[in-house]
């Protein structure tokens, strides 16, 4: 394996980790505020569909992005109403949202385009184009740093850079602002937040809405950045991998960066080497695909550093009277 191959694998890891990272951060906001969200998958799928549809109809990827965020937000609202306002079971609501997205995207896609749930292929202004960072071409010939800068760091779509910027931004918001402190408190001990005179409901809705926006970005990137259009079930379990990454990351932003990079790398390696040969042992691609889930179970089991979720996660808050 030479240097260029490594760069190529890392480059594809970065592309593949981007939707995971955005969805993982989305889940982080929601779960840190005490609202479990296993509907990340459905929100991403809905966002991918709305983004691709509007981009295909208008030819403008930015309108597509807005539509993607709107689609994801709509499902977030459903989740909020069910799990915050009506104090329903957050897990069941998440399951419902996944199915709702899975069915609606095909129904609406078939109605609008008649292509069996696909959208037409996007091209030109209907897709996010790759950004060449300044001096990328001039620096390409510099050994080591050149290829890293020109091929790995440069040449991604805007949403990739947005996703990476979201990591420090999330860290700052959660740990350095009043809003972040309250958000974390509401996931650990909502009664104390309530006693301090801050609305638990409003905070949780805000967290769920941020989650919706980030899932919207993730879905829009899938359909208009990573691929050229929407196909049925295109999220393919990424929402659940993001959920796994969130546990792996122990609900921290920098952990999310590391965990999603690891899972992106695994996917990139599995894509490049369907049957990986290490010495006499051949590792089938199915094993590589299942590895994120296996690793998460091991982490959950607490054998390698324990992952402790926010204490009030999953519990609706009932205000005292």
């Amino acid at each position: 394996m030479d240097f260029n191959t490594i760069i190529q694998i890392l480059d594809s890891s970065v592309r593949l980790m981007t939707p995971l990272l955005l969805a993982c951060l989305a889940g982080l906001y929601s779960e840190r505020a005490g609202v479990f969200d296993i509907g990340l998958e459905g929100k991403m799928l809905m966002a991918a569909f709305s983004a691709a549809t509007v981009a295909a109809l208008t030819g403008n990827v930015w309108l597509g992005l807005a539509a993607g965020i709107a689609g994801s937000l709509a499902l977030s609202l459903v989740h909020g109403v069910a799990s915050i306002t009506f104090r329903g079971n957050q897990l069941i609501s998440g399951v419902a949202i996944n199915f709702l997205a899975s069915g609606l995207t095909v129904l609406l896609g078939q109605k609008i385009f008649g292509l069996g749930g696909r959208t037409p292929n996007l091209s030109g202004g209907a897709r996010f184009s790759e950004i060449r960072l300044p001096f990328a071409d001039q620096l390409r010939d510099v050994p080591v740093i050149g290829p890293i800068y020109a091929d790995l760091i440069s040449g991604h779509t805007i949403l990739v850079y947005v996703a990476f910027l979201c990591v420090p931004a999330t860290w700052w918001l959660l740990y350095r602002t009043r809003f972040g402190l309250r958000l974390r408190a509401v996931g650990e001990n909502p009664a104390s937040v309530d006693t301090a005179g801050v609305s638990v409901t409003r905070l949780r809705y805000a967290a769920v809405a941020i989650c919706g926006v980030l899932c919207g970005l993730a879905g829009a990137y899938l359909a208009t950045g990573l691929s050229a259009g929407f196909v049925k079930e295109m999220t393919a379990g990424r929402g659940f991998i993001a959920l796994a990454a969130l546990i792996f990351a122990k609900w921290t932003p920098w952990g999310a960066l590391f965990a999603t990079f690891l899972f992106g790398l695994l996917e990139a390696i599995a894509n490049r080497y369907p049957n990986l040969e290490i010495g006499p042992v051949t590792i089938p691609s199915m094993f590589m695909n299942a590895l994120p889930y296996i690793l998460t179970v091991i982490i959950l089991a607490g054998f390698v550093g324990r992952a402790i979720p926010p204490r009030a996660g999953g519990e609706p808050y009932v205000k005292e009277r």
Binding site: F99, V106, A290, A301, G302
Partner: protein, 368 residues
């Protein structure tokens, strides 16, 4: 005395929730420019209008009874088993091994062995999440989700590298020998000289599913273990105080749940497919969630809900055949049923409760 009558809680709330779910489904059909009335008519004729339709409806319902019971049993122990999909898939592996590797003289022996094999494999797949929840406190919902994906990868590997006959490109096992083929309901009717549902997959497993309903009812409400499961589900601390071991109940409830989900495989793998194929569960594990929620985790409710979903499934197939509505409409209906009966339960219950309370208050006021 600030409760509404029991019949309202058990019957009225789910019915209203269901009505809301179907009303919105109707709106969705209107939104894609089709007539909900025509759609309903197509579905009823296609699924219930002929013995052919019933043959499929009962076949699907059989799958959903098993997965619905699986979710229900876990729910009584206050656990949400989303792993039915993976457990049923592993059950399929168990059935395939029983049918392929042991020569059976008669289908009845093969059926009993397949029941044990599928239940063992399904239970084994539920065991790891259960023990992790009981001993290490890992959340069962997350682990069972992860185990669904791991099961899919494992089955994929087993079919491609192990069970696939030499020379075949298709990731599927060899056909099961004829002596393991289960009698179809068609054959049973033919025994009485009645022609019923030709070429339909409904088979003897349907009766096994009915027995499973009865067994679950006996287990939950008529045995000591069932009492312990319910007590644990209502209050873990009270159960612990009464000398019930949380680890034991968690593991046993999940083993039963996984075993029930696994037993679905005798219907779809042994009864219908007569070989193991990729993705043989086809989402039935998830439909079990909707079925259990709608059936209020009671075997009779599960049976009725499974029949309803069997009807929706077969009707949805007919819709895709005769109208321009894709069969994914069923997934939307399923989602809405889960949403309204499961997550938005309080939206229906709160106004109902207020209604009954105000009526009672008026009643007492008039009497005094």
């Amino acid at each position: 005395m600030d409760k509404m009558p029991k019949w309202a809680d058990v019957v009225l709330t789910p019915l209203i929730s269901l009505f809301l779910a179907f009303a919105i489904s109707g709106l969705v059909i209107l939104a894609i420019g089709e007539s909900p009335w025509e759609a309903l008519k197509t579905m009823v004729t296609g699924a219930l209008g002929s013995s052919y339709g019933w043959g499929f409806t009962l076949y699907y319902a059989t799958n959903f009874i098993f997965t619905g019971l699986a979710v229900a049993v876990a729910y009584h122990a206050a656990m949400f088993n989303i792993g039915g999909e993976g457990q049923a898939g592993l059950g399929g592996l168990g059935v395939a091994m029983v049918c392929l590797f042991i020569p059976w003289p008669h289908w009845s022996l093969a059926l009993i062995a397949a029941m044990i094999g599928s239940a063992l494999f399904g239970a084994a797949w539920a065991y790891i999440p259960a023990i992790l929840q009981a001993k290490r406190g890992s959340h069962i919902v997350i682990t069972t989700i992860m185990f669904n994906f791991i099961a899919a990868a494992l089955l994929n590997w087993a079919l491609v590298n192990w069970l696939r006959p030499i020379g075949s490109m298709d990731p599927a096992s060899a056909n099961f020998p004829a002596s393991t083929h289960l009698p179809k309901i068609t054959d049973m009717f033919a025994g009485f000289g009645i022609e019923w549902g030709k070429h339909t997959p409904a088979n003897i497993t349907f009766f096994v599913a009915l027995l499973a309903c009865l067994a679950v009812w006996l287990l939950i409400w008529r045995t000591r273990l069932g009492y312990e499961i319910r007590a644990f589900g209502k209050s873990e601390s009270a159960a612990r105080y009464a000398g019930i071991s949380p680890t034991r109940i968690t593991v046993i409830a999940m083993l039963i749940s996984g075993g029930l989900a696994g037993m679905m495989a005798i219907n779809n793998v042994m009864g219908e497919g007569e070989r193991l194929i990729l993705n043989n569960v086809e989402g039935a594990g998830f439909i079990g969630i909707a079925v259990a929620l709608m059936g209020r985790n009671h075997p009779i409710g599960v049976l009725l809900a499974a029949l309803l979903f069997g009807f929706l499934y077969q009707g949805g197939g007919e819709l895709a055949l005769w109208t321009s509505i894709p069969r994914e409409l069923i997934i939307v209906i399923q989602a809405l049923v889960i949403l309204f009966t499961g997550a938005l339960d309080n939206m229906v219950r709160m106004p109902l409760e207020a209604f009954f309370l105000s009526r009672r208050r008026r009643g007492t006021a008039e009497r005094s």
